[in-house]
Symmetry: C2
Subunit: 319 residues, 2 copies
C-alpha cells in the first residue's frame, strides 16, 4: 500500500525517470482563427512525457525520453531542444517510415480542437539499449499515446512487465482520447486493462469522463481503484485534486494564484511529484510539490517554462 | 492522334475540369531554419490539382476539385478558400478518420525536404455525386497522390475507366515521389501502369528520373510514349519543355523573364494549357498559353497568384 505519510521506496538506480512515449511538434496558431485571418503558427517542443522530462531535469532530477522522431528537420529540432536542455538523447529513435508527429492547434473562440498528425511517435521499438536504461531507472512513465498503436503498444507492454519484475514505480497518464485510436478499435477497454497493471494514475476529470461516462468524483476514484491502480490522483483544474490510495482519500487544493496559461499544467504537476518522490519526500509532500510546480508554471505562457530547482519552488510556496 | 496544329475535340459538358486528388495545407517556414531559430510558419492553400483548379477558374474556365479534408479547422480553411474563389465545394468530402493532409516545408540552406502528413486526402470515395460531375466534365486530371493509397487509388481507377468510356480527356501528372508510397510498395511500377491508360502526361525531368533512372530527354519522351501516353510534355525548368505526340517532337521555350519564386509554376502551366484547350485553341497554342501563365506566375511569390483572364495573359505575351 502507498501510504500518504511515507515516502515511496524506489530502486537504487543511476537514472531517475524514464519517460516512454510521445515527443511531438506542437504547431500553435498565433491568434484566433475563426474567420481564417490568422495564418501564422509557431512551432514548439511538445509531447507530455517529453515535457515532464524537461521539467524534471530543471527541477534537479535525471530523466530520459524514449520516443521516436522522423528523419526530418522537425525531428532534428526536437533532438536539438532536448540536447540544449542537457538531456541524453540516446533513447530517441528515428524512423524513416513516418514524419515527426505533430499536433496542430488552431485557436478558436469556440472549440480549439487539436488536430493530431501521428507519424513516427508510435513506431517505438523495444531495444536492448532501452531495456538497459529501464533496468537502471527508478520510475517509468507513459501516457495513452504509445498504447494507441503498434509497435509502441507492444513496447510499452514489455516495459510494464519488465519494470514490475524489477521493482520500478510504474506511472500512467490515462489521457484517453478517441482520436488517438484507429477507427473501430476499442481504446477504452484497452486503457482500462492497463490501469490494472500500474501503480499510479493521474486522470483529469475529462479523462475519467471519457473512460467511464458521467459520474461523481468519488465514483471515478472508486472505478480507477477497482481496476487495480494503487494511487489515484484525480485532478480537478482550479479545484485541485482528489487523491486516494484505496484506504484514505484526501482533497488537495491548487496552489495557483495567478493563471496566465493552463498549457502543460498537468505535466508540471507530474514533474514536481516525481522530483519530490525521487528526493525521498512522502507522498503527501510530493503531491504538494506537484501542485507547487504546477502553480509556478501557470504564471507563465507555454508548456515548458524556466523552472528553478525543486528546493527553490518549495520555498516560494512555503512547503 | 493528338496533332499539334489541331485543337483537342472535347465532350460537350457543362463543367470544364474535374481535378481529382489532393487538397492540402502547405505549412511553410518564414525563414531558413538550419540553426533552429526560425519557429514561425505560415499556412497556405495547397495541393497541385487544387491549385490548378484555382488558377483555371481565374483564367476563365469552370473547375471543381474532388478531394477529402478532415473534420477540423484546417479543412474548414481549405473549403473557405475554394468558396472565396467562387469554386463549387460540393465535391470536397470530409473524413472523420484522418486530419486534413499537410506538407510542412522548413526552408534550409542545404536541402529543404518537404515533410508529408497524409491524413484525409487519400480517403476519396467514388460516389454517385462524383460520377455525375465526372460525366458532365470535359477533362479529368489527377497526380500521384491519390494513386499512392487506397481507397483513393480505386476511386481514381474507376474515374479513369469511366472517363475513357465517356470520351473525357484524361490527364496525369506523374509526380512520383517514394515518400508518398507505403514502405515496401512498388509505386514506380504502378505509376507506369497508369501512364498507359491516360492521354496526356506532364513529367518534370526529376519525375522522369525517379521513374526511369538517368537517361536523355529524348529517351524519357520515348519511354512515356512506349508506356502508352498520347502526348508527353517533359518540362525542363528554365529550358522550357520537350513535347511529343509520338510522331513529332517540338521544343518549347520558357516565356519567363523574371523569376521571383518557382513554387506552383507547373500548376500554372497546367491551368494555362487546360484553359486554352477548353477555349478551343490548338495544342501548340495551348502549350504556349501554358508557358505564358507559368511565366506570369513566376513573377510573384506563392503557388496561387492573382491571375488575370487567359485572354489578358495571351496579350501580355503576344500570343
Amino acid at each position: 500500500m502507498l501510504k500518504f505519510d511515507q515516502n515511496i521506496e524506489l530502486k537504487k538506480s543511476g537514472n531517475d525517470l524514464l519517460m516512454a512515449g510521445e515527443i511531438l511538434i506542437d504547431m500553435i496558431s498565433e491568434d484566433y482563427n475563426d474567420d481564417f485571418t490568422c495564418r501564422t503558427y509557431r512551432q514548439f517542443f511538445g509531447g507530455s512525457p517529453s515535457n515532464i522530462a524537461m521539467n524534471a531535469h530543471k527541477l534537479g532530477v535525471h530523466a530520459v525520453v524514449a520516443s521516436v522522431v522522423g528523419e526530418d528537420g522537425l525531428g532534428n529540432f526536437l533532438i536539438h531542444e532536448l540536447k540544449s536542455a542537457g538531456i541524453d538523447t540516446g533513447y530517441i529513435q528515428r524512423s524513416a517510415e513516418g514524419p515527426t508527429s505533430m499536433v496542430v492547434v488552431t485557436k478558436s473562440q469556440s472549440t480549439p480542437t487539436p488536430v493530431f498528425y501521428r507519424g513516427a511517435d508510435y513506431r517505438l521499438s523495444y531495444t536492448e539499449k532501452l531495456e538497459e536504461k529501464l533496468m537502471n531507472s527508478k520510475i517509468v512513465h507513459f501516457s495513452c499515446w504509445p498504447l494507441s498503436r503498434n509497435p509502441a503498444r507492444e513496447t510499452i507492454e514489455k516495459i510494464i512487465s519488465k519494470a514490475k519484475m524489477n521493482g520500478l514505480l510504474v506511472c500512467f497518464d490515462p489521457n484517453y482520447h478517441p482520436m488517438l485510436w484507429e477507427a473501430g478499435e476499442d481504446g477504452i477497454e484497452y486503457v482500462k486493462s492497463v490501469i490494472g497493471k500500474v501503480d499510479i494514475v493521474k486522470p483529469s476529470e475529462d479523462d475519467a469522463e471519457r473512460l467511464f461516462g458521467a459520474h461523481t468524483h468519488e465514483q471515478y476514484i472508486e472505478m480507477f481503484l477497482e481496476l487495480g491502480a494503487k494511487l489515484v490522483i484525480l485532478t480537478l483544474g482550479k479545484d485541485g485534486a482528489l487523491v486516494s490510495n484505496g484506504v484514505e482519500t484526501f482533497r488537495f487544493s491548487s496552489l495557483a494564484t495567478e493563471v496566465a496559461d493552463t498549457t502543460g499544467a498537468g505535466d508540471a504537476f507530474w514533474s514536481g511529484f516525481y522530483a519530490a518522490t525521487v528526493k525521498g519526500y512522502t507522498i503527501r509532500e510530493a503531491l504538494s510539490c506537484g501542485f507547487a510546480v504546477s502553480a509556478y508554471k501557470l504564471k507563465y505562457t507555454g508548456a515548458i517554462v524556466d523552472l528553478p530547482k525543486l528546493e527553490a519552488i518549495k520555498e516560494i510556496y512555503g512547503l
